[in-house]
Amino acid sequence: MNNRVLLAALAGGVAMFLLGWLVYGVLLMDVMRSINPQVEGFEKNPPEIWAIALSNLAWALLFALIFDRWAGITTFMAGLMAGAWMSALIALSFDLYMVAGTNVMSINGLLLDVVVSVVMGAVNGGVIGWVLGYNRTS
C-alpha cells in the first residue's frame, strides 16, 4: 500500500463522511425514520462519531485498494462509475441481510438506502479515482 492509496482513502473517507452527514443526518433523516419500522431503543443517541468516521475510512480504503492495485482507475469518472457499482452491490447485500434478520428495515427502506448508497459510493469513488490520478505521469 503506497502513500497515494492512503491519501486517496483519506480524501474519499472525508468526502463520504460529509456526504453521509448531509444525506442521512440532515436531508433524509425523517424520511428514513418514516419509511422503516421503528423499534424502541434501536437508534444510538448520540451516535458514536468515531465509529462512523472509521467506517467511512474502511470503505474508502477498500475502494482505493481495488482501484489502485487491480482496476487501474485514475480518473474521477472511472472512479465514479466503479464506486457506484460496488456500493450498489455492498449496500444491497447488507440491506437484504437487514430485511431478513431484523425488524428495522422495510423493502422501501432498502430501495431508498441502495439508491443513496449508489450516489454516495459514486462521489466517494470519484474522489478516490481523482486523487489516485492527480499529477500522475502516464
Binding site: 423499534v39 431503543g41 437508534e43 480504503l61
Partner: protein, 138 residues
C-alpha cells in the same frame, strides 16, 4: 457477465449461505454478549429467508466481479486471500456504521462479527476463485 462469473456467483453464494448458517445460526447463536441494548430488533420468523439467500448471492457476485474483471484471481489460494481482505474491509465498514448509529452490537459483537466476516469472505472468495479458474487452460 460470462458463464464462469455466473457459476462462481452461484457456488460462492451457496458456500456463503451455508457458512453463515453454521456460524451465525449454530456456533454464535447463543453468544448473548455480542448484542447491544436494543431489544426486539432480531426477526424471529423465517418469512424473509429469500432476502438472506439473495444477500449472499449479491456478495458472491461482488467478489466474482472484482476477481474476474480486475484482480485476475482464479485460484483457491488467491481467492482465499483476496476474499479475506475484501470481506474484512466491507464488514468493518458496515459493522462500524451499525455500531456507531444503533444499539444492535456490543463492542464484543463488533469485533466478533468483523473477524467472522473476514473468515466468511475468505471461504467464499476461495470458492469463487476456484470456480473462476476451474479447467481454465493455463
Amino acid at each position: 457477465m460470462n458463464n464462469r462469473v455466473i457459476w462462481a456467483t452461484l457456488a460462492g453464494g451457496v458456500a456463503s449461505y451455508l457458512l453463515g448458517w453454521l456460524i451465525y445460526g449454530i456456533i454464535l447463536h447463543d453468544m448473548s454478549n455480542m448484542y447491544g441494548s436494543a431489544t426486539g430488533v432480531q426477526r424471529t420468523d423465517m418469512s424473509a429467508m429469500w432476502a438472506l439467500i439473495l444477500g449472499n448471492f449479491v456478495l458472491a457476485y461482488f467478489l466474482a466481479h472484482v476477481f474476474s474483471r480486475w484482480a485476475g484471481v482464479n485460484t483457491l489460494q488467491g481467492g482465499l486471500q483476496t476474499g479475506a481482505l475484501l470481506g474484512f474491509l466491507i464488514w468493518l465498514g458496515v459493522d462500524l456504521i451499525m455500531f456507531g448509529t444503533t444499539n444492535i452490537y456490543s463492542t464484543t459483537g463488533l469485533v466478533v462479527d468483523v473477524v467472522t466476516s473476514a473468515i466468511m469472505g475468505a471461504v467464499t472468495g476461495a470458492v469463487v476463485g476456484w470456480v473462476l479458474g476451474y479447467k481454465r487452460a493455463g
